[in-house]
Amino acid sequence: MKKGLSRRDFLKLTGAIGGALILKPETSLAYKEFSGWPDSFGCLTDLSECVGCRSCERACNEANALPQPSIPFDDGSVFNHKRRPDAKAYTVVNRFEDPRDKNRFIFRKIQCNHCNEPACASACPIHAYDKTPEGPVLYDSSKCFGCRYCMIACPFYVPAYSYESALEPKIVKCIMCYPRIKAGRLPACVEACPAGAITFGKRKDLINLAREKIMRNPQRYVNHIYGEHEAGGTSWIYISCTI
């Protein structure tokens, strides 16, 4: 009996493995299996409910003791250009024209989506980021040395940098009001929203709620829950009205 692997057997084996890999494309869908922490919290933003009052922005500003914005919260001119979260605003609402009716608008609130498998945390060389079992992705500024890899890694362009602070700049982003959640309260923006456009709860309950909303009103909603699988699943999920 021959010892080891013959050349012929080796080629057969590698051919078989290679063939199996090519013939099994569903392995590329493995990212859907990232489930995150069980029973973690999340938020569901229903864009069809949002009326663009910016109460969430105001509440976020107060809860995080951020500086007053240059354009006041009740000034609609802020919608004239598209904004993204920065060091002075962890959440922003942008306005888009409804293509069916120019007098109607669709508003979209953006903030950190608190991914189940955060790319910012993966990219951080010093583990300054932490995905908490409650859901929020937190950042420890005492560890950060300012490489800003997280800003590049984030698929949603969320982490911002306090550039104006020359000596102690840090990364800033929404923390889903982690201290408030720990105290059994709602995130500030959720509590402030008059339209109920943001719902706070267990992520798995919210996905069911989103599904139910779409099912009950298929004319109104796009049949997709954004964030259910995107970027491996996010704690902050969205449903939107049809266009």
Partner: protein
């Protein structure tokens, strides 16, 4: 004389009851919604006017005349004998169900959301509501700080 007085009293009472049965006197006309007024001033809600606009109560009182409805007594807390006459007077306040938001039951909105959703279903698009943030203060209520600023020159 005493008998006449009693008869007229009975007559008055019966007419009053008749009108109650007809429902014309029963609906509140103007309501000040101030139970959750915190940052904004209370809303003066003209209920009478909205009755004229709306087609039936179910447009706003969401559980009314729908398949998903609760049984009548869940909102109108009355005995069957009283039910026909004074059902509207015994209407249960929205806040009895819609109090605080509980993440365990994410489908149940709190009072603030329940109020706003009822209004937004028609008012969205009026007076730039749903177009820009000022719409809210133009149509229904002003910020309390705004009011204070306006008062002080």
């Amino acid at each position: 004389m005493k008998r006449l007085f009693l008869i007229s009293l009975l007559f008055l009472l019966s007419t009053l009851l008749f009108y109650q049965g007809a429902g014309s006197l029963l609906y509140p006309k103007m309501i000040v919604l101030n139970s959750i007024s915190d940052k904004y001033t209370p809303v003066k809600f003209d209920h009478g006017k909205h009755i004229q606009f709306s087609q039936g109560c179910s447009g706003c009182h969401h559980k009314h005349q729908k398949n998903e409805s609760l049984s009548c007594k869940d909102c109108h807390n009355v005995t069957p004998s009283l039910f026909k006459n004074s059902v509207h007077r015994n209407f249960m306040a929205c806040r009895n169900c819609h109090s605080q938001f509980n993440p365990e039951f994410p489908k149940m909105p709190d009072l603030k959301v329940a109020y706003h959703r009822a209004c937004f279903q028609c008012h969205r698009g009026m007076d730039s509501l749903g177009v820009e943030p000022k719409g809210c203060t133009q149509r229904c209520h002003t910020l309390k700080t705004q009011k204070a600023e306006r008062r002080s020159p």
